[in-house]
Amino acid sequence: MKRSGLWRLNVVLLLLLGLLAMLSTAAGVKWYGPLSWFSASHLTQQILLTIRLPRTLAAILVGGMLALSGQLMQNVSHNPIADPSILGVNAGAMLALMIGGLMGLNLNIFNSLWLSILGAGLAFVVVLGLAMRRRGLDVLRFILGGTVVSSLITCIAYAIGILTNQTAQYRNLLVGGFANVTMPQVHALLVVMVILVIGVACFHKELSLLILDDSTARGLGVRPARTRLLASVLVVLSAAMAVAVGGNIGFVGLGVPQLVSFWHPDRLERNVLPTMLLGASFMLTVDILAKTLNRPNELPLSALSAICGGIFLMVMLNHKKVVVA
């Protein structure tokens, strides 16, 4: 019964994703129906292939990646309110990208990837270092410390922007979005996605057992410190990649895993696929809204996702008996 429920969920989500992907390639400044892939002029095909398709793929990959990394983070921190954007990881990547841009680095996909990994990693190490006690991770410190570090980093980024007269660049990073995604970026996203999936697949048992407290997990043959490190590396990698391509997109990792475990409470390893599918669908929906609601201008993706996430978090704190600490 349980197993068939999972299958049904997966199939429904997959259909939803397919539908949204079709809608996403069709919608935009101008509407191209699904048939224009075959019949239309060379120009139309060119637009579909070089503009619409990379954008759709990037949204799918980033959504799936962020949702999965949110799930990992919630598992690691034993807390339903963990998310890379709350914990300062996104802000760190943003600051590094900004500094790199100011130092005259060419922000191609390779440079922006290592820069944002560096920034995200440093920020995460700081937050983790603040939250580590001798007994293990202190959850309250992790969340609130992360929030404060995050806003501190954002302030510094803005100060740098002012001092160097580069507020325009700050603005671009702040806004985010998939409008200018190119095929090489999609390839890089794909690589990171494969690494993430392989990592989770190889260590799914250990990662699932992290939800237990440390001594129990140790009794079951898991080394908590090492597993936590692995999960952190995966989280930082995927959050950094997402920032490098799409800007500061928050809260996807917060709501999506919560919803999936609400529909289908189960172990981490079984919920990986539905979480990724739902994350991708969510990201596609937001992206479609961003490019169609205010045509021909784009709405800022980061603001849309913050609004959705903020509402979700408020509702969550209101209704469910969420254990926050």
Binding site: I81, I86, L130, D138, L140, R141, I143, L144, G145, T147, V148, V149, S151, L152, C155, I156, Y158, A159, I162, L163, T167, R171, L174, V175, G250, F251, N297, L299, P300, S302, A303, L304, S305, A306, I307, G309, G310, I311, L313, M314, L317, N318, V324, A325
Partner: protein
């Protein structure tokens, strides 16, 4: 006696910060030049610099510092939670949203002047935000209250960003400086109006100090002592909102001063409301003046928004405070 000396020390620090604010800048003035100019004996240049360029900022810092500090004190008294202030609960973000909305609308409808409607917009926004944060039984759960504040701030900032991007780049910059906190208007009339409002509100708080102090005992004890709890709390809340709105109108969304000042004051003079009230004001003003001096001088000739400097100073303190609390 100990309290008295501590007051003296903080007053001395506040004076020091004031004079630092008056002396340093693009044009450096000596102490005697400043004093001469203040008493009307100075030369032309120093009089102009002091009266036209420096003093307005000092007044703006005093208004913001005292209003934010007392607003934070009231909110901490209301929730009995030392980790709370108007910026954490999203009240500042609410007031900013009101103001940004007004700026966006005034670009379209010329009849809406930002100057006249600003206080109303800020107060409405701040009130809505506080109602949203407070609406349920979250008061008993301190951490949950903080997290609701975080969520609300993220949500409101998202809305602000949406509005911002539909503006022209001039308004965009204006809103951005607002959101990081800076004294955007130092016109004499403007400051006088808000200064008057701040003084009236502070006097009101002083008038009701006995009732507010009773809340320290807990609701039941305070009720037994003859305090009308619901009325007092409503009053406390409206005064806190009004003070936060005044501060946001003058200096934009300045973070965490309201958290830090009452806590430092508590450390210096204890949790008695009356003594803590005066001390919070002093500490808040000192912090704002010092931040203003740093903001204007650290990277000459560029100036930073005051709010940024305040954030960089106060956030580590918040972390420290947070960690002490969770130790217990």
């Amino acid at each position: 006696m100990k309290t008295f000396t501590r007051y003296l020390i903080v007053i001395a620090l506040a004076l020091l910060a004031t004079f630092a604010c008056l002396m340093f800048g693009d044009i450096h003035l000596s102490l005697s030049q400043v004093l001469n100019a203040l008493f009307g004996l100075g030369d032309h240049v120093s009089t102009l610099v002091i009266w036209q360029m420096r003093l307005p900022y000092v007044f703006a810092a005093l208004i913001c510092g005292s209003a934010l500090a007392v607003s934070g004190l009231l909110l901490q008294q209301l929730t009995q939670n030392p980790l709370v202030d108007s910026s954490i609960l999203g009240v500042n973000a609410g007031a900013s949203l009101g103001a940004v909305l007004l700026i966006a609308l005034s670009a379209r409808y010329k009849a809406l002047s930002v100057q006249t409607w600003l206080p109303l917009a800020a107060i409405l926004g701040a009130g809505c935000a506080l109602v949203l944060v407070q609406q349920t039984n979250a008061q008993h759960d301190r951490l949950r209250l903080l997290l609701r504040g975080v969520a609300l701030t993220a949500l409101l900032n998202g809305v602000i960003l949406m509005l911002q991007l539909n503006m022209n780049s001039f308004d965009f910059e204006r809103v951005l400086t607002w959101l990081t906190g800076s004294f955007w208007n130092v016109d004499g009339k403007f400051l006088a109006g808000y200064g008057l409002a701040a003084v009236v509100l502070l006097l009101l708080v002083w008038w009701f100090r006995a009732d507010f102090n009773m809340l320290n005992l807990g609701d039941d004890m305070a009720q037994a002592a003859g305090v009308n709890i619901n009325r007092t709390k409503r009053l406390l809340m409206s005064l806190a909102i009004a003070l936060a709105a005044v501060a946001v109108a003058v200096g934009g969304a300045i973070a965490l001063i309201g958290l830090m000042s009452p806590n430092i004051a508590k450390r210096l003079v204890g949790s008695q409301f009356t003594t803590r009230f005066a001390m919070s004001i002093l500490v808040g003003c000192t912090l704002m003046l010092a931040s203003n001096t740093v903001a204007n001088n650290l990277f000459l000739p560029a100036t930073l928004p005051v709010g940024l400097v305040v954030a960089v100073i106060t956030m580590p303190y918040f972390l420290m405070l947070l960690f002490q609390k969770s130790e217990v």
